[in-house]
Symmetry: C2
Subunit: 320 residues, 2 copies
Amino acid sequence: MKIELEQAADFLRENDDYLILMHANPDGDTLGCGFSLCGALQRMGKRARAVCPDHIPARFDYLREAVEEQQFEPQNIVCVDVADSRLLGELKELGDKAELCIDHHISNLDYAKRTLLRANYAAAAELVFEVIKALGVQIDRALANCLYTGIATDTGCFKFSNTKAQTHRYAAELMELGAECGKINYLHFDLKTKGRLALEQHIYKGMKFFEGGKIALVCLTLDDMSRLVDIDSDDVSSIASIPRQIEGVEIGISFKEKKNGVFKASLRSGEKINSALIAQKFGGGGHDRAAGCSFDCGYEKAEELLIAECVKALREAGLE
Amino acid sequence: MKIELEQAADFLRENDDYLILMHANPDGDTLGCGFSLCGALQRMGKRARAVCPDHIPARFDYLREAVEEQQFEPQNIVCVDVADSRLLGELKELGDKAELCIDHHISNLDYAKRTLLRANYAAAAELVFEVIKALGVQIDRALANCLYTGIATDTGCFKFSNTKAQTHRYAAELMELGAECGKINYLHFDLKTKGRLALEQHIYKGMKFFEGGKIALVCLTLDDMSRLVDIDSDDVSSIASIPRQIEGVEIGISFKEKKNGVFKASLRSGEKINSALIAQKFGGGGHDRAAGCSFDCGYEKAEELLIAECVKALREAGLE
């Protein structure tokens, strides 16, 4: 059931012993939401614990400063930034019993008893910020760091087009509340692991161009991944955006081998090409500018088929 | 002479026929300031022209939409984001006759008859935004695009630690005034020229590590630059930040050959190492986290000398 901000705040005020669930394959938004909400409830004198089904990368360690470890029997489950309980991995069954979900995904399945949704927000952390303010909790540096992390990471440091005027205003507020933005931005947007560096070199070295540079393609096989140590899922998923960043490229393609011989293609395109229409030809889908599809016909054939469709799309758009 | 915002606005209101000067080797801030101020004065019914001593890279073409070409004999010179008239290249003599300078550099030499300075602002465009508002000009999309460009480019898209709460608030306002932030961010922070791509591959391939990865070093020779076509000065200057971005690196060094056998070293360091102290050993200087010095003893010797000082600095900081 969809609820409003004050109802969510009332629910949190009236209950206790919260287990806060963050989604699998965690990003800065779900973690920032989880730890800030947990810390805020603890500051109200309540018991709360934030858990994630997957390992939390070390660069997010500082988020834990917002909370203290508490042992208790959870009574109320809250999900943050979780559109679907299946995104909770091994915690799915707990997620299905959620009393409250706070989220910003338009695809939210309304699986929780109560859902507070703002589908136009760039980050769920913007909404959790509003909830914490509605609860009347004084926001200190540690909480501000969590909330800023959610907002900054979900917007690519205010670079992506999901960034709104409100996003900037909330960042300004959090900065004034003590968020250590310089330090946080360095960790998430500057720092490169050696694994990431090796991955990028591999990707750039193997990049192929078609149609006079209008299509760029990269590929990452299971074999590549076994040789590239010290890379995490974030690193791998971020390669999808690399080919489209090259000047002159209208369609960027990244192939990733999912299991032996099965390749997932991610498509990224400019304003003149509809990625989703191309992906649909192969049973996939997505958005106008970002879409994906899968192939189990072996790599060479997959590349040939997909490039042929992309060339057709360029032709139809008058971009030959 | 230092003046305040209202005095700058009064001067601009009371006069006409402005020549606005932007600094050599132009960046988004000086260009955003120049074209927005020029456009604003034109919207007040005045004559104005913005000029730059150097070529303006094509990715800034859209800034010109804020102005119209006007032919007239200039009567009043205004410099924007220009700390020193020597930064005007061949326009230096005109700069020395400036009636007004609007700037945010603490190093501003107060060379103009009137200087409006806000040394704590991240971008001069924040200050020009205030000036245009004080002039009562209605800010349309084209002007907002210029001002947003100045703010976003001088802060690395809100990533650098010069970003303040006000910076985010002004970005929010400009977004509401129609600034096409997604498009602008793509141009300046995502798009990679093929030259830039080749340069990065060259840099990463040649990167050397010392002291177990605590020092990283890259080098760009005149010979490299002659082989790497399609790179601009922005590309070359940006390599200074690359080595420090690698995980575990406390001191990042980039060497650039300035003329045959003369190498300029740029140093970047984390919180525990003072770059300026190292650069001073070789007659250079700078800030705690970013400094530079020059060597004319040939590359091998320069590298040896500088690495030895860096190792010493690591030792003194207890980072061995």
